[in-house]
Each structure stands twice: as structure tokens, then as C-alpha cells.
């Protein structure tokens, strides 16, 4: 199971008119994992997901979905929440969920039964018989999400699932994603909100300018940037800079600099011996946000 790939993509290319919006993307999503596709707006995330699902055909490259070269052959085992949410406004919430399940091969009556249970578990039991047009945007979005998993798919593809949700519903969505992963499903989602990716992803890819710029774990991404040190001396003095790395900058009563290759220990002894002392010392690991900004920024610089 550990070696199985739920999704693979090799050199996917998509052109619109003269522009290559996806320019040779490779992906490999392990089965049973939560995999994030990160990228700035217009990076090609949605187009990549649509190609993986077979909504649009790539101009070049190959992909497999749950082992199938033709994604259509796996469609009953896939759930999909598109970036542009869409439900029939005149449908009742439970009917909308059952309908989405029926499209994926679930019996309509069973879908309706599961819909009621899922809505209750999501705290939306009262809305089961409400028409979609009467629900708030966030509630409708949750209904659509439930519709995309009601048939218990092996692969769930979520395109920007957190956008438009308030913090409470974002938390519910995170819980649902984790629950689906625990059930054994693979979750592939795109986002440009790093906090969610950082909390949820087992692996991630960063796409910018239609190309994959990074692939690995969250820790791998963080490791692309060195850690930062925040040092607060007991007895501050301007001369302290002579004992600190060249990139050290004063920040109020503290100094900030990149963690040296040899670690922090060789620096501490001279500082103590010189009588500056240590009032505070923090080694700050860079976040995914920082890594993302750097990786995407490097691409932007090259492109410029």
C-alpha cells in the first residue's frame, strides 16, 4: 500500500491559445496521504487538477488516476470539489448530496440516507430539507463538500477548499479531511493558504508559472531556508556586533541572524566570556509560508 500511487502525472502540458498555463508538471501522490498543491494565483493549480480528473485533456504528458490511464474509468472512486462551487439552487441539501453521490454510482436512496447522517454530524442537520438557495455560502460549500465524499471515494480532490469559509467552518473542513484520510482515502487539495497545508499535508508540491518548483514534505520545504536566531544579550552594547555573524541586524534590544552552518554553540562561548550574557535565545525554524515565498519569489525573479 505504501508504494502505491493514487495519482501520477508526467510532464503535463496545457496551452490556452499561445500560453502554456501548465508547462510540464510532474506529480506523484502516495495512496492514503494528504497531498497539497500550492501555488500563487494563476500558477496552473486548477488546470492541473482538471487534467488529472479528465475534465480537460492535456496537450502533452501522461497521468494516471487510481491506476487508470483514462481518469473516467476511475470516476466512481473519486470525489471532487471544484474551485467554483456549484449546486442547483432549487435542490434540497440532502437531495444535492444524494445527486452528487448518484453521479458517482451511489444508489440515490442510500445517498439520501447518508446525506442526513453526514449533515447531522457536520452540525447541519436542520438544513437537510432546506433548499440550497436558502443556505449561507459557507453552509452550501459544506453541503457540496459532503456531496463530494458521500460515496466514500478512494481519492478526494479539493480545489481551494478553504476559500470562502469562516474559521469555524475551516476547522470543520480540516477535521473532515483528516477523518477521510483516516478512513483510507487519498486527499489531493490545492490552496494558497499555507497554514492549512502546513497542518494537513504529508507531502506537497509548489507550482509557479505552470511548473512544479518543489516537491517533498513540509519539513523538506522548510529546510530550503536556514533557521533564524534571535539573541537577546543581558548587557547590550554596539560592540557586540563584532562577535555575531555578518548578517546580524539589531531589532530593538535583540539581534537577529541566520543560524550558522556550525550551529549556535561556537558563538555562545565568546559572548558569555565577553560579558554580554544571554537574556534570551530563540532558534526560529522557517515556516512553510517563508519557504513558499522564497520558492515562488525565485521563480518570479527568473521570469523577470
Amino acid at each position: 500500500m505504501a508504494d502505491e500511487r493514487a495519482v501520477t502525472a508526467e510532464h503535463l502540458v496545457k496551452r490556452y491559445e499561445q500560453r502554456r498555463v501548465v508547462d510540464g508538471v510532474d506529480l506523484s501522490v502516495p495512496a492514503g496521504s494528504i497531498y497539497g498543491v500550492l501555488g500563487p494565483n494563476g500558477a496552473g493549480k486548477t488546470t492541473t487538477l482538471r487534467m488529472l480528473l479528465g475534465i480537460i485533456e492535456p496537450d502533452e504528458g501522461h497521468r494516471t488516476l487510481l491506476g487508470h490511464i483514462n481518469p473516467r474509468e476511475a470516476s466512481d472512486r473519486v470525489g471532487y470539489l471544484p474551485e467554483e462551487r456549484g449546486l442547483y439552487p432549487a435542490m434540497k441539501a440532502k437531495e444535492a448530496i444524494a445527486f452528487m453521490g448518484a453521479l458517482r454510482g451511489l444508489d440515490w436512496a442510500e445517498g439520501r440516507r447518508r446525506a442526513v447522517t453526514m449533515l447531522e454530524e457536520a452540525g447541519l442537520g436542520h438544513a437537510a430539507d432546506e433548499k440550497i438557495r436558502k443556505l449561507s455560502k459557507g453552509m452550501a460549500q459544506l453541503v457540496q463538500l459532503l456531496g463530494s465524499v458521500v460515496h466514500r471515494p478512494d481519492l478526494i480532490v479539493l480545489d481551494e477548499p478553504f476559500s470562502g469559509l469562516d474559521p469555524v467552518n475551516q476547522e470543520k473542513l480540516e477535521a473532515l479531511i483528516l477523518a477521510e484520510r483516516d478512513r483510507g482515502a487519498t486527499i489531493l487539495f490545492s490552496t494558497h493558504i499555507m497554514a492549512h497545508a502546513e497542518r494537513l499535508c504529508d507531502r506537497l508540491a509548489i507550482i509557479a508559472g505552470g511548473r512544479r518548483r518543489f516537491e517533498g514534505t513540509v519539513d523538506d520545504a522548510r529546510a530550503t531556508l536556514p533557521s533564524r536566531v534571535r539573541y537577546v544579550p543581558h548587557h547590550p552594547a554596539p560592540a557586540i556586533a563584532q562577535l555575531l555573524p555578518a548578517d546580524a541586524v539589531a531589532d530593538g534590544g535583540a539581534w537577529r541572524f541566520q543560524l550558522p552552518d556550525g550551529g549556535i554553540e561556537p558563538l555562545l562561548v565568546p559572548l558569555i566570556d565577553a560579558g554580554y550574557g544571554i537574556a534570551g535565545l530563540t532558534i526560529e525554524r522557517p515556516g512553510l509560508h517563508d519557504a513558499f515565498v522564497r520558492i515562488v519569489g525565485q521563480h518570479a525573479e527568473k521570469a523577470a
Binding site: R15, Y16, E17, Q18, R19, R20, D23, G24, R50, L53, G54, I55, I56, E57, D59, R72, E73, S75, D76, V78, Y80, P82, E84, R85, G86, L87, Y88, P89, A90, M91, F99, M100, A102, L103, R104, G105, W108, Q144, G147, G209, G210, R211, A303
Partner: protein, 407 residues
């Protein structure tokens, strides 16, 4: 095959959604009772059917089986009497036939003559004439009786003809043509009402963004087929409702009207004709609906959909005109063209069923029309995929310009 069944199941899911979404709305009642508001179209149909009857006037005859020496006097009297009638009410052309050994048998043969619609036959001694007339014909017998009286000398005693009811072994040509027109018009009327509904059905999916959900789960061909079948279900409900209403009303028709309807005798036989009418209505709906669905799916706004209604109506009226011409002249090249051209084929073949008893062309036509339905659905889905979802390969005429600009 498994994939096909899978696609059928998905199409049926979409059809069910569309059917329920359409029927379970108050607006549907307005739609259902719309025919009450447009009696004018029925009037057009009536005029058309009447003109179709006129089209066969040159094949209508009355026959007198009389000796050759009586013929000149009878022809002269026919000319004189005929002139007394207004133009539109003149009797059919008189044919004079010399009597054989068995004039009664000769009269029955005249009634069954495939070349003409014989409205009545006069035979026997003119002082005691025998008349063989179909029950439906109320005017021919008195005319033939008056003609016999006028042909005799002026001082001859008043004659009383013996009337025999003629039962045709075949449908009358006029009845066939009228059946043909009614079939063509009926299908036109129903598709005019119903097939246009399909045009805007993809707009809902586009406006609500549901299309992305559908396109991810279901092949677009199945989406199109499902929408077509869903709306066809609505059409069948509509036709079923009004069919039941008209059948109920039929019980209350006066006997003369019932007799007139009874003369509408399609050549292929009433039960087969009814089945073929249903089949051709279904295919006319599916053919026009699949074209309209494909075109309508390209429209991105309600305004564009409204603008499409004019060309769509023109297409429908054009097919009706073509098929009407075919029904009027069943052996002409226009008829052959209308039977083969996909969009007019169901109309024209329904007309043919009224005019010809041969069955095999219908089997061929139904398969031919189904093929075109599949082709139109496939083309519509392909255009939608390329034009709206922006999928598919770059057209060859653009490939030379499609150079990469990034990376």
C-alpha cells in the same frame, strides 16, 4: 459495454434530476396548459389539412356506368348542373364507363380503384338507377340521382335511386394524404412546443457552475444525453396528458365528426401508424433537441439563448414546410430528400406512413435517425468541451501560432 452501461446510468441520473426539476415547479402547470391559449395554431393545422385535401381533388372522381349512347346527354347535363354549384362545392370529375356483364361488380371495382378516390358510382337502368356510395359521402348520391334524372327526357317520371353503401377495401387517397398532413403537423406542433425547451437547459449548469461537478463525474456525452432524455420525459408527460384529454373528448364528438375522423385512414394501418407516429415524434424531438442543446450550450447568457429562439423556430418551420411538401407529393424527389435529410426525416417518414403501406423503409429510417441523434450529441459535447471547457487539442489552424512563452 460496461462503460456504455455506466454512461447510460449516469445519463439517467441527470435525466431524473432534470425531469424532477422541471415538473415539480408551478411554472410547469403554465407550460402544460399553454396549448389552451394557442388555438390559432390548431386553426392553421385545420387549414393545412383542408388544403392537403384540395391537393388530391384531381384524383377524385364520380363514375357513371352507362351505355355509350347515353353518355353525350349525361356529359351535357353534368356540365349544366355542375355550373350551378359554387366553385368550392362542385362535385368531383365525372367518368363515364361502358357497362360490362356485371355492372354491380364493376361499380365495386371502381370504388376500389387504386388510382382514384371514387366518391360514388351510378349504374343500372337510369329509370331505376343503383348508387354505390361510401357512407361518409353525403353529397355525391343526391347529385348522381339528379344527374340521372336530368339525363332522362324532361317528361320522364321522377326516379328513385336505390343506394348501396360502399365499403372501401383500402384507405382513400384523400384520407391518406390528410392523415399524412396531420401526422406531419402533429409532430411539428409538438416539437415546436417541446424541443425548444432544450435550448437553455445547459445554461443552468453553466450559471450555477454545476457543469464542473458534472464534467468531472460524467462524460459530457452522457450529460448531453441525460439532459435530452430528461426533457423528453417532460415532453412525453405533456403529450400523454393532452392525448388523454383528447381521447376523452373524442367520446363526445357528434357522429358526423366521428365519421370524418374515421375516414382518416393511413395506408399502413391505424395501429402501426400510431406506433410509428410515437416513434417519429420521439426521434423528431431527439434530433431537433440534440441540435438545439448543442447550439444552446454554447450560449453564455440568457440574452444569447433568447436570440437563438428565432433561428430555431425558422429551422423547425423549414422542416415542417419540407415535410408537408413531401406528404403532398409522396413520389416526388422532394419527398425522397425530406425522408433522407436528418432533421426533416421523422416528419416526412410519418407522412410516408400515411401514404404507403410498405414497412421496411421505416425500420431503416429509425436506425438512420438514431445515428444522427448520436452524432449530434457527440458533436454538441465536443463543441462544448472545446469551446466552453477549453479542452481538447489545439485546432490544426492554430498550431503553428501556439508557441510556448514561459519556462
Amino acid at each position: 459495454m460496461n462503460n456504455f452501461r455506466h454512461a447510460i446510468r449516469q445519463a439517467m441520473t441527470i435525466a431524473r434530476r432534470d425531469f424532477v426539476a422541471t415538473v415539480y415547479t408551478p411554472v410547469f402547470l403554465l407550460f402544460l396548459f399553454a396549448p389552451v391559449l394557442i388555438g390559432s395554431i390548431s386553426a392553421i393545422g385545420g387549414i393545412g389539412a383542408a388544403s392537403m385535401g384540395d391537393g388530391v381533388a384531381d384524383k377524385a372522381r364520380i363514375v357513371a356506368i352507362v351505355p355509350a349512347q347515353v353518355a353525350p346527354a349525361m356529359i351535357a347535363q353534368d356540365k349544366r348542373l355542375r355550373a350551378m354549384f359554387p366553385r368550392d362545392f362542385r362535385p368531383s370529375t365525372l367518368s363515364i364507363v361502358a357497362p360490362s356483364a356485371d355492372p354491380a361488380k364493376q361499380a365495386r371495382a371502381a370504388i376500389d380503384d387504386m388510382r382514384f378516390d371514387v366518391g360514388g358510382v351510378l349504374y343500372g337502368d337510369l329509370t331505376r338507377p343503383q348508387l354505390l356510395v361510401p357512407a361518409i359521402d353525403r353529397y355525391t348520391a343526391p347529385y348522381l340521382e339528379a344527374l340521372a334524372q336530368a339525363t332522362l327526357s324532361a317528361d320522364a317520371p321522377r326516379i328513385v335511386a336505390t343506394r348501396h353503401e360502399a365499403i372501401r377495401a383500402r384507405a382513400s387517397i384523400g384520407g391518406q394524404h390528410q392523415s399524412g398532413f396531420i401526422a406531419v403537423f402533429g409532430i411539428f406542433f409538438l416539437t415546436l412546443f417541446l424541443a425548444g425547451q432544450v435550448v437553455g437547459t445547459m445554461a443552468e449548469e453553466r450559471n450555477t457552475k454545476v457543469i464542473e461537478v458534472l464534467a468531472a463525474a460524467v462524460p459530457l456525452e452522457a450529460v448531453f444525453a441525460g439532459k435530452l432524455v430528461g426533457m423528453f420525459g417532460v415532453a412525453v408527460l405533456f403529450v400523454g396528458f393532452w392525448g388523454a384529454v383528447l381521447l376523452s373528448l373524442g367520446q363526445w364528438l357528434p357522429p358526423t365528426a366521428a365519421q370524418a375522423i374515421g375516414d382518416l385512414a393511413p395506408a399502413i394501418g391505424a395501429p402501426t401508424f400510431a406506433l410509428l407516429f410515437a416513434a417519429y415524434f420521439s426521434l423528431a424531438y431527439l434530433l431537433l433537441g440534440s441540435v438545439f442543446l448543442g447550439i444552446g450550450a454554447q450560449a453564455s447568457s440568457q440574452r444569447e439563448i433568447q436570440m437563438l429562439s428565432l433561428p430555431i423556430t425558422i429551422v423547425q418551420v423549414g422542416m415542417f414546410a419540407l415535410a408537408s411538401a413531401a406528404a403532398r407529393h409522396p413520389e416526388s424527389w422532394v419527398a425522397r430528400f425530406a425522408e433522407v435529410f436528418p432533421l426533416s426525416s421523422p416528419f416526412a417518414m410519418a407522412g410516408r406512413a400515411a401514404n404507403s403501406a410498405t414497412l421496411w423503409p421505416h425500420a431503416l429510417a429509425l436506425v438512420w435517425q438514431l445515428l444522427w441523434v448520436a452524432l449530434f450529441i457527440w458533436t454538441g459535447a465536443r463543441l462544448f468541451r472545446r469551446g466552453v471547457l477549453q479542452s481538447g487539442s489545439t485546432p490544426f489552424w492554430r498550431r503553428s501560432r501556439a508557441a510556448p512563452i514561459s519556462g
